[in-house]
Amino acid sequence: MLETEIAIIGAGPAGMAAALAAAESGVAATVCDEYPRPGGQFFKRAGGSFGLGPAHLGREHEHGERLRRALTEDRIRVLSDTLVWGAFGEKVLMLYREGRSEALRARAIVIATGAYDRPVPFPGWTLPGVLSAGGAQTLAKTQWIKPGARMLLTGAGPFVLPVADSLLRAGVEIVAIVEATRPREWWRHAAALWGQWPRFAEASAYRRMLRAARVPVLFGHKIVRAEGEETVTGAVVAAVDKSWRARPGTERRFAVDAIATGFGFLPNTELPDSMGCTLRWDAHGQAWFAAVDDMMATSQAGIYAAGEITGIGGSVVALDEGRIAGLSAAEHIGALDPARAAQLRAPVQASRKHLQGFADMLNVLFAPRPGLWQGLIGDTLACRCEEVTAAEVRACVREGCSTPKEVKDWTRAGMGLCQGRICRSLVVQAIAEERRIAPGQVPRSSVRPPIKPVPMGALAMSEMP
């Protein structure tokens, strides 16, 4: 069995920052990460065998490299290609790596498992070539392979900008960026922009990039349909009202071979949930996040959460939260005395608060609006794994199912390999609509091990903690 002082789950910005903070405090940390290389989603990059010149690399590349180099320091052990499949007892994590199930015992845990693109259904969304914005960016950024020759990006909020940047660098022709909100809606939140000058600089740089590439931007529109037989060949968008409901008679079709959708993110909260950490519903994020105090402590002693799982804030917030969590975890195990820990935390807490303010504004401005779910009807799939249609889910709710568990038992929605990650929010939305309650009022289902599917042979030979 592996032992460590602080176990960190996730090697994205938050996880890496936590590891560095722990190491600075003289504490041995073990970082467990599912991917082959640290960096998470934000700092993901192509493997070493790619020879990339400056024209290929984005602005965050250097920062990511610095962090990765720092992780090689002695006190930090990085276990890549490692899945934490369950958390048991007193801070025991069960890992699946190299074909084996092993135990890792820690004195404190930092959970930094990040987030994934919010699934948004519409007719044709399962066609090959219809991708999440993150998925499109990953292929382009880490392997320099074009998700499509001609692409349409549809979404809400600024994440589409770095995605467009990655795609353009990879040689993709972007036929349009389709943004659901209109600029005039943004000025209400102008106050939140004060002091966020780096964000302005970033935004300006992206705008220049789009203009140089002559990418049309359509405001106040969204995707309503993907067309094609074996693969996507067309994207149909429509103008939307303030609730993002499609206006009749405004459809426009673009000939494309890939579509990327970017309507925000959902946090990977399975692990904190399974460890008994309290989750809080965020009405703007339309998701349950890990509840933390300003030390990044969850409701369970010695367990901290950082990064997107506490609230969508992007990489800059994640870096701060990771640092705070690492310091708090070090304090928890006695490696930092409380006064010193507080002293080290204070500037980072201030920075985080400042940055989170901006992120909060974005979350409010670009929060999903009711019309986003117009596609969740009829034959459009709600559960992609088990092929359960939105109509079947709604029918089952009308017949009396009021919880995601009941919908799952009746339709199999949520029983597939993704364990409900894609359909859970859609089932909740359907229940909320049919029963006329807020999505946050829909009961949550229990989380069970394995946190992701694991081969049975490995579990049969599992190390006992």
């Binding site: 919880t403 038992d409 029983m415 394995p450 694991v454 049975m456 579990l459």
Partner: protein
Amino acid sequence: MAGYDVCIIGGGLLGTATAYYAAKAGLKVVVLEARDLAAGASGAAFGGVSVGIYSYSSTRVPPPYVSISKASLSLYHQCQEELGAPLDFDANGSLDPFYDEQGLARGRERAAGLVECGVPCQVVMREDLRELEPALSDAVAGATHCPIDGHVTPMAMVCALAKGARSHGAEIRTSTPVEAILVERGRAVGVRTAVETISAGWVVNTAGLGATGLAATANVAVPVDYSRGQMFVSERIPPLLRTYVHNIKQTHAGTIVFGATRESGVTDVGTTVAGTKEILAWAVRLLPALAQVRLVRSWAGIRPVPPDGYPIIGPVEGVERLLISVMHRGVTLAPVIGEIMTELITTGRTKHNIEPYLLSRFADAPAGSLGEVQEKFYVAG
């Protein structure tokens, strides 16, 4: 004046089965479920519908138990026709594997006993087993094969029974915990919930883990032990299993459902590393093809187990119009329990022999002698 003819406490297999048969017989029925339908053991159970497999007994399955199990199995087929909702019920036979001489001897005893009760069952050795179930490993020396056995998805059965009950006018209320059974002058007259008193001609306690506590409100002692069963389900795979092998089956969707641990006294519904390892090691040993198949979910249920392992069914001494049914093999017996309860209510007796299963058998037995109770009823046949 009674509000309902029958008030059933508990919306699991036994409660919904009773509701279906009672409503079908024209009775005015209400089911009060504290949480959701099948929230307890019924929702977690493996789903074996079997005469031939019974792990809590001595080698021979007692004839009265065989009798009600066989009857229930027939009723399953009827339910499949009548209920009109998919049960995910298959009756392709069961296999109870053994690995050594001792197991073979037990298997032969089991089979002989069943045949004497008119149930087809035979021992099948390894070579012939390969034809029946090619995926079984060579570690299996043989198995008892009961060709009439089957399996069901318990949740589907509960939902189908509930639907059937409602179609005959039964009322089913979930999120409605019952606080007490009301007794007046030695007769059950209804129940009390947090918000109201419901009067009924008969009260049926099929509340599973809650049965003991509720019975206590009527001054009735119902001894029940608890045993946790951790269960597991895999991803969908191409057809691998045809029958139900004790205790592993393949659902219509293609997933492999298997289990379960037997953790006496545990009432926590978490799954553990130890339980996962134990059950998965057993499953992979039995079906080597499963080694590369992924586990998708684990869960646990708490079995209510009467002290001698056999069901508690029927009337209660000292309180009229109160019926109770608690057991740990509610899947197999659900339909026959529904029939028995309905017969008791409408006619005062039942065609099935429930003498060995009356609650009163625990009042008679001196402490620590419950093993003898079991043998007594077997011999009495």
